[in-house]
Symmetry: C2
Subunit: 696 residues, 2 copies
């Protein structure tokens, strides 16, 4: 139905009439400045209502975010009223930059920027600038605090930013402020039933508009949670600190960017480069020492209870066992071998109690010197592991020595871990007093993670953080921050109650993955967890995860002996690339299914991954992403006709077809199923003798 | 969340236990036979529960239609119980047939068929066969009554077919049994709030499954409405007749097919050929005398109140005025000129009171002989018009003479009309007694429409029925049944309160258009209705409708003088084809937006049409449908950056680009907007001197 509304002159008359009758009614907020996106898709307006700043966002004439407040609760008084415009400026940027590794090689950064400086009209006369960068597929805005006399240090008790979502929407979200941080199954509820949520939070309106709220460049600040107020209005709620305040900064400083992605398709959120574009450029220079790669490791066996992190009769991280993994990695083209439980401190209750960990020497049954030398001889690299048990200051105390050890041994990538007993890490008071408890997303941990990443970069080491702070695109600035966890991963399929239902991995693509890479550790071809618990997945789906869930380091997480039992399927894991020239979502709906294609950065091959929820699907896909005029051999790894994740997960077909860019395929996915395809140009395939081309 | 359920042995034990405790509980229905679709996507089972037949439909392991009853309420007793299987048979068919005209030239018909003959075990021992044809994208089933001793004539008081939709769904539907038949705006409600609905009715489950219910081959039977019972269970309710019964047939006979289309995407419903495949092949032989074409006519001027159907000072159908339209058609490549109001009977209250219409002679100011000769000389054909005012028997009485007139004059296409005052047509009792009132979808009108179509075919004339019976794909059998109305058309934009909101045309694509072509009469470039009422559309959208809403005859419905005021946009209407080699929905969501591409049957050109609802959209589309290796000139007719159907509908851009099959486009649609594109191979474009190629 068309919306009928009075024409502008009539509206003005009405407003005038109301003012005459009721002069004390508050005036309409006054638009101070506004800015369009380059293609005039989005329009952002900054308003002042009697000195109180707010903003709103329109898309192609529809209001997406209604009048939403801006400002701060500072220790020395609210900074969100009595403000006037001191200055404003606009600029346009259209540049293309290159990623050292990533979902795509070239990223276009095309936005219009509006900067409005606001200052208090009385009192302390504090001031800050609101900076909006508006793209066709979303926007970011942040607060920039210049040096000023009335505010030498900002103690932020709360940020007062709001997001009043106008179209009635469904939300996919996980709760914030809970004990196991971000490791929850996604909830699908009306937006007006959200309580306190992590970001990214993904919304779909009744009319098919997709919106995701998150942040970019979280540096020396507290992570933003979103608390719902009235209706669909979301309020920033900064992650707490043990200090009472949320953030403490000396001026000048910038806050992280608050981001709003907006697209007509679910896939439009995933294909957006907004978060990366809002981060600072590479600060590390030449990073050819960062290695996207696949890896195996001593890991799943512990989650199965077949081996232990702790020393003893079932210890996993022994010299002999690690040598077996190195041999397997060398034979099958994996660069890395992760070994957990290699160092002292695992015996006893280490969860949230990591004060006993020693990161500078191995356990006696793990000959790290010999193993790293043996690995190097076979073209393989050990991957280090630093589980902190949330004793963060204890870890920082050993950090330099620990990293020196790895640098000396050629262990050029390491995994960190922050498993707490109640969701908060331990921080020693600077004066050596009592322990303080800090949240994973608070300012302290934002500082800690970058401290580790910078210390690693100084030694040409790369980091893969588990139980981490949320990803806000800092891999652009620090390309050695390769990957992280930050969601319910594969280990829940070993022992979780329930294990991850099929929709979880689809939900990840449209929520968690908007933030950045995730080390999900796929590829459990045995499809069994601890004590034989069935994993809710078909066999083909485990392969599709390597394309669907992006990470520049991908684990083949199952036991070597299980891979040898499923050689036909394992071949895809051997072949699949991890670093990409380009990536595109072909099709997908939040929580239902997704199909993604990616082009290998080091060959002409393309890879496709498609996964569904608990329902089977028949998805037509056009192969137009292939190079026109080139014939490709498609190696198809699909669900068998009778496959079903509940009753028949191993029904699986590997088959080949010759295809071109003009062809269409019908992907038939079983309930809980998936499909993976490798496309190789026929000439390249012939040159490789019909066998796998370059493996890494 | 994975559904936990007891393993089969446990379930059997539970069932046995319940039977022991409560032996009178009814037994589970017994599956008599089942059949898979060729690709094992759908599975249909026929069940008998103590002699009562039912069926259910599963898709890739999920139940889509739960146990749903089959049978009839016959005048001589219910025929839905005490039944046993007499015989059953299966077969597979995979054939490809050619359409003389249509959305695509070749249609694949690939199904597995199950036939089960059921007979009463006592009493009259009546019997019938249920026939299921199961495709990967849907199914049809019908009842087939053989000759038999216990039933010589079937008087059907109701058909007892049910559709118990299992997944929780949203429905798009229009009410049935209402005064203006099918000319309603679509309602979007939870399926469990549907009352009595027309078909096609379109459903979308929470998990993204799209389902449409309709029927195919409605011949000598009453149209099926759907009445909701408990929950999401829909019951067939046959359109009534004035006789008291719903259908009366002598045996043998077949009912129409009850159809269920099922797809993972909204577009999958539109791309399906199910309805056509379930109709009988072409019964008319060589139909090169049927002419898909574009036309103009004396029509919109009457809806604007600028001219009248009735004779008098403002009479539209005059010799001079028609000559003006013929000249315009000849100059701009239109084959047809429709003239309404050409015959006696329009003066006075003719709505539902058409007894005064004379179909065999023109009004004195309309020289039909001279005009048809003049048209022929200019390569143009008059299009005839038979408004019955619902005096159907009165029309049938003149039918032969009326068609003879057209055949003699070369008027080879005619439009019929059935405008009633209360939703029912008039039928004279066979004995000449009182008038009976019949519904548009009842058995009488099913007979009447085919009587007109067959009489037309005998004279090589083609039919375009307005206020018609619903389309069930009979154009396959009778290709001279070119098009029809059967939904709220463009004239509501002249005088409707409200006019058609933008979502209406999107809804049409995913509901009404599943049945077959619609003569929507697009192209009102003036964007104004009666007394200047704004039409809820941008300019570019009016062009996109020619591709989005399929009909083999398409009107350029606006006044000639308006087209000359918008020459840039009008050029697309001149160029666009009406008969297609192929058609594909690239993208779309019910009620939100749709993008369709079609390939011209008489050139290498492709056309794209995209329309949205009241929201603006940015839609990426891949041009992979284009021939690989060929460069195309894309003539783009799009909304201007400031376009908005409410405030700025005329903001419009026509621009050209060179593109190939490897390119992507971003379609930016304004609120209430659209986009139309013609793709011409560059060599062909050059050969045509950069100007329009073959027009028709």
């Amino acid at each position: 139905m068309p919306r009928m509304r009075p024409s502008p002159p009539l509206r003005m008359l009405l407003a005038a009439a109301l003012l005459c009758i009721a002069p004390l009614l508050r005036a309409e907020p006054k638009t101070v400045a506004s800015v369009d996106s380059p293609g005039k898709v989005l329009q952002v307006a900054l308003q002042l209502d009697d000195g109180k700043p707010s903003y709103r966002v329109q898309r192609l004439g529809d209001t997406v975010i209604g009048e939403s407040r801006l400002g701060f609760q500072l220790r020395d008084g609210r900074l969100d009223r009595d403000l006037a415009v001191l200055a404003q400026a606009m600029r346009s940027v259209d540049e293309t930059w290159e990623q050292p590794w990533g979902e795509r090689r070239y990223v276009r950064n095309h936005y219009n920027e509006l900067r409005v400086e606001l200052g208090e009209r009385s009192g302390l006369r504090r001031r800050f600038t609101v900076v909006f960068r508006v793209y066709d597929d979303g926007l970011g805005f942040r607060y920039s605090f210049p040096q000023q006399a009335g505010l030498r240090e900002a103690i932020i008790d709360e940020e007062l930013t709001e997001f009043d979502i106008v179209p009635e929407a469904t939300a996919w979200w996980i709760p914030a402020g809970e004990p196991i941080h971000s490791e929850y199954l996604y909830r699908q509820t009306p937006l007006n039933q959200v309580a306190l949520a992590h970001t990214p939070i993904t919304l779909r309106s009744r009319d098919g508009l997709h919106i995701a709220l998150h942040e970019a460049a979280l540096v020396d600040y507290a992570g933003m949670w979103l608390r719902r107020g009235d209706g669909q209005r979301l309020h920033a709620q900064l992650s707490p600190s043990a200090q009472g305040w949320k953030v403490k900064r000396s001026l000048p400083f910038d806050t992280p960017w608050r981001t709003v992605q907006i697209a007509d398709h679910a896939g439009g959120l995933v294909d957006s480069n907004l978060i990366l574009n809002l981060n600072e450029p590479n600060a590390l220079g030449d990073v050819r020492w960062v290695h996207p790669a696949k890896y195996v490791g001593v890991w799943w066996s512990m989650h199965l209870n077949q081996e232990t992190w702790a020393t003893g009769p079932k210890h996993g991280a022994t010299t002999a066992n690690t040598r077996r993994y190195i041999d397997f990695a060398a034979a099958h083209g994996f660069r890395g071998v992760l070994v957990e439980g290699w160092n002292p401190g695992w015996n006893g209750e280490w969860f949230g109690n990591g004060g006993g960990f020693d990161f500078t020497r191995p356990t006696p049954d793990f000959d790290i010197e010999a193993l790293s030398a043996y690995a190097a001889k076979r073209g393989v690299h050990l991957i280090g592991h630093h589980e902190t048990g949330c004793a963060v200051q204890h870890y920082e105390d050993q950090l330099d020595a620990a990293l020196e050890l790895y640098a000396r041994l050629g262990v050029d990538t390491f995994k960190t871990g922050y498993v707490c007993d109640d969701g908060q890490v331990d921080r020693r008071n600077a004066a050596g007093g009592p322990l303080w408890r800090e949240w994973h997303d608070g300012q302290f941990m934002a500082q800690h993670h970058l401290k580790v990443v910078r210390a690693a970069a100084a030694r040409h080491l790369s980091v893969n953080a588990h139980e981490p702070i949320k990803d806000t695109g800092l891999r652009r600035t620090y390309p050695n921050w390769l990957s992280r966890e930050g969601a319910r991963g594969m280990e829940y399929n070993a022992w979780g109650q329930p294990p991850n239902p099929p929709e979880h991995e689809v939900n990840l693509v449209f929520t968690r993955m908007l933030a950045g890479p995730m080390d999900y550790t796929p590829g459990i071809l045995s499809l069994k967890g601890r004590d034989g618990q069935p994993i809710p997945s078909t066999l083909a789906r485990q392969l599709a995860l390597y394309v669907a869930i992006y990470s520049p380091i991908q684990m083949a997480a199952d036991l070597p002996e299980h891979y040898l039992q499923h050689r036909d399927a394992f071949r895809f894991i051997e072949d699949v690339a991890v670093d990409w020239d380009d990536s595109r979502v072909l099709d997908g709906e939040v929580g239902d299914y997704v199909t993604i294609v990616r082009k290998d950065r080091h060959s002409r091959d393309w890879y496709l991954g498609s996964i569904t929820d608990e329902h089977g699907r028949v998805l037509p896909v056009s192969l137009s992403f292939l190079e026109p005029g080139v014939r490709y051999r498609a190696e198809i790894y699909r669900d068998g006709d009778a496959a079903n994740y509940r009753s028949n997960p191993f029904d699986f077909v590997r088959e080949q077809r010759e295809v071109g860019s003009g062809d269409d395929l019908q992907l038939k996915l079983a309930p809980g199923g998936g499909q993976a395809i490798r496309f190789t140009p026929v000439d390249a395939a012939a040159a490789a003798g019909g066998n796998s081309a370059a493996r890494r």
